[in-house]
Amino acid sequence: MSSISSDIIRGYNDTMILYLLWDAPSYGYEISKRIRNLSEEKYAIKETTLYSAFTRLEKNGFVESFADSDMVNGKRRTYYRITEQGRQYYREKCAEWTLTKEVVEKFIRQDGGM
């Protein structure tokens, strides 16, 4: 089974995180777990990658962080919330992806080169 090259997916980690924050704030581990589940175990984001994405997103004003207690066991965690700028950025990324996919798709043979 082929695995995802981290070079390729790096540009879309931000998109995935913003997608997951779209409806409600979330925290580090929950996001990494949901990425794994949604990708059907095909992509597992490393902790360092995730943290570096968080700091970058926050620096650019796309997310905000705040400390809060977990609903389930009351543990203090850092939560992230998407901002209006973040939503705007997400829309741009989606458009960019559609275009990218369209272009790259043209160079993928139907038979996969078999």
Partner: protein, 321 residues
Amino acid sequence: METIRNYLETMFASLPNTFEVQKAKNELLQMMEDKYTELIKDGKTENEAVGIVISEFGNLDELAEELGISSFVIQENQKTTGGYRNVTLAEVKDYLHDRTRSAYAVALGVFLCIISVCGYLVYFRGGWHVRIVLATSFMFIAIAAAVGLFIFAGFVMGKWKFFRERACSVDFATAEYVHNRRESFRVTRSMMITIGVILCILSVLPVIVVGSLFGWSIGFGVVLMFVFVGIGVFLLVAAENVNAGFTTILSLNKRGTVGGSFVPSQKQVTYRNDTISKVMSVYWLTVTCIYLCWSFLSFDWHITWIVWVIAALVQQMLKAL
């Protein structure tokens, strides 16, 4: 969980101890902790869970830019190839063992030096020159034994010279181990110092007591005085030397880094003025010398202690300069 924490601390040990780095460390620990808890809940064994968490952790290089430490990461990588010596826990245990042995050897040597003159003060039967011969032999034997002990101590410690000559570091678990050892030695150390100081202060007592009880043999009182001072100094030297061993290890890591959290925080007094800092390096030695000279010459022990009070005041004043 302890393994994960140690792993993370070790990864971060050589990074600068800044707010961003601490925050990153805490966040990463939080994520790893969550993941670990969930894996355990899913029925994984502790070892499996630790293995998975650590293997999926990633690489700190990725964070370099965000943490503003890219120059640091590169620097550190160069240093490791340039012979940054990592001292293992086994080596540290060895070192502390040797250091303790040599501490007691040096202390015993000092004790022997102090009591070496006692032979001249003891009264025993025999002719005048027999006494001189015996006293002198005792002195030389004591000094020879002391020198032997000093050489032995130097020999034992010779193996560890590289601590000073090369850049060394210890990992977090080792630093914590040494820190705990030092903490548990703290009570012993303060006992040794207290008793040592008390013995030094009380050392004049035998002279007075013996002198007033048996006027004829004041020599015996002086012998006791030397023995008191000897034991007192033995305790002080041993306590400080053993403690210095812990401090040496803990100071290997640079203070500004995360791994340097255990670097003894006692403030190193720095003098702004160069001349004063030179004077201060021999200050307490000079004060001790003045105290002893004045005391022994005048025998005004009841008043000579004032030297220490004045010395402390003068030091405070010099610090302000």
